[in-house]
Symmetry: C2
Subunit: 379 residues, 2 copies
Amino acid sequence: MFDFEIQARSGRARTATFSTPHGTVQTPMFMPVGTQGTVKGITPAELLDVGSQMILGNTYHLMLRPGPDMVAAHGGLPGFTAYPGPFLTDSGGFQVMSLGHMRKITEQGVTFKSHVDGSAVQLTPERSIAVQEALGADIIMAFDECPPFPATREYVKASQERTIRWLERCLNAKTRDDQALFAIVQGSVYEDLREQSVQETLPFNTPGFAIGGLAVGESKEEMYPMVAFTAARLPEGKPRYLMGVGHPEDLVAAIALGVDMFDCVYPTRTGRFGYALTDDGRLNLNSSGPRQQLIPIDPECDCYACRNYTRAYLAHLTRAEEMLSPRMLSLHNIRYLHRLVERARAAIASDTYQSWATTWAERYFKGRIPTWFQQAIAG
Amino acid sequence: MFDFEIQARSGRARTATFSTPHGTVQTPMFMPVGTQGTVKGITPAELLDVGSQMILGNTYHLMLRPGPDMVAAHGGLPGFTAYPGPFLTDSGGFQVMSLGHMRKITEQGVTFKSHVDGSAVQLTPERSIAVQEALGADIIMAFDECPPFPATREYVKASQERTIRWLERCLNAKTRDDQALFAIVQGSVYEDLREQSVQETLPFNTPGFAIGGLAVGESKEEMYPMVAFTAARLPEGKPRYLMGVGHPEDLVAAIALGVDMFDCVYPTRTGRFGYALTDDGRLNLNSSGPRQQLIPIDPECDCYACRNYTRAYLAHLTRAEEMLSPRMLSLHNIRYLHRLVERARAAIASDTYQSWATTWAERYFKGRIPTWFQQAIAG
């Protein structure tokens, strides 16, 4: 259980299998986000159909509503949501920072007012683990603080040192053997603090490591050197998870740097706004062009929307504010990211990752590949 | 084509097959409504899966957006919507009355301001048929006026006489042989005007007849005598369509009176509001009870929601305003009405309709079956 077996490498990129109690997944992989116990608008049957392997659940949201006891009464997230495969839950820390009101951080943990009903709630490392054990995901995350961007060196250093102490408390609180707890490296955009965080985190020897504290407002030029620096210092034989990322270009770039796992609300959120992901960039179904186009979003895509509908039809649905539009665009976008990592895995397996990524980027960036991307895929 | 073959009778209820260019349907049947070219939130694959046989499209909405030319460019509604089976389109008359602003009715037709962009639009019998030919449904409806309720005898009489003249113009305007045009009987709640409308409509010998002008605000006690009176005067050998109906109790009652076809937005609309149809009545997923219930909406139902989800989960989605709630409740509610007519057909085939309907109603009305319903199922 929780074996990570690398099957092929191409530069720093690698493809591997990771075994969990609810099934073995292939990395690199993208995890759709099911914040409140559902990937917005999409059924488990559809997730399996488009190639989802693992779903992310948000501890913060599920703790507040419907509460961990109700999820546990269903046998955990698989029973509650009817998605039979592996789950990963975050620790709640990130959402406390972004959604909780009047939050106060102490050594003990975080107190905040619920965004649902305004009630006072305390989240500590011990409570986060207890909730995550009730939710029953295969991978659970250490309770950390993700500092905002920008944050001073002093703030980040103090925060990440507390995060290490919280990691120790998380591991002490953990009682279930069938859940893998991943530690999270912080350090914001300070290379020396990243180094310190890695050095203090690695000894806990968790079955996987996450790269946290990025994609929170910094530029790509600030972010990618940190991904490269951190990923290179994490153990080869364990999965590396870049939290909250990302856009198609982020997946292709970070895979080149040796990242194995991703999650982001982007495909479903941008779908609800009327956008479809393609190899040519983002197609805006709100604009007038697609309303006249009798072709699929993406002729190469095998999702239900692309197999059945024209852009004109989907643009009509979008304009008419029909529910089927966000549903179909979300489905397509999830499929797009799954196909993207499937293509990445094939390129790694044939040791052609850099050339594949370059070809993909030429089209995606319309010939103007940014420097940060070029540097990332150069390894 | 458009053969209506009665297979069994039970009292005045009957079960039959009706053949259309896109397939043969079994009556009695319920048609989900796809107002803007989609049954809200539901895919064609799901409609087929839950037993939909024919989908209703709204001429008024599709004429305004995306326009008949765009639907025709897809080969009509089956190509546009990706639903491969039969369609029925209404004439636009009803929506002009309910949605158009500043409408003016003349002998020529109706002028109104579009609810989409405020532009001035004219709809005439000829224009309605031209649009319905572009939309390409298997069954198209005569352009009529559905008088509001209440309306004076004088108003209804003048209106329905004009509707007869419009029917003649519709038939003269019709050019396609692969579409069946159904005439519509009006008369509001005036028995003598219903009689007059029937007598003036029948000579046109259309392949089916609709009962219009009901379920527009009158009581069940006013409505059902009109359904009984009109249905009894329509030809045995052609389908009878009660427009814009209905609720489960309406289907069971009107089938007893010899009605074959129904349409209504009710299952999807009430689903979007958080309600689920069951043999025990309507379950309110917004209420606190279901939040604690680890059972399906309806243990006897075979829809995706009932096979996979608890009431607690669906109530959680409803409370959290997740898109999957309206989607799943709409799907369940459509399946409920399809199962209801399937059960009705089986009861007719075994000539036990009245006893089946009584048993169904005992549970549905919790022992207090209203008089209008008792009278309807007594035939």
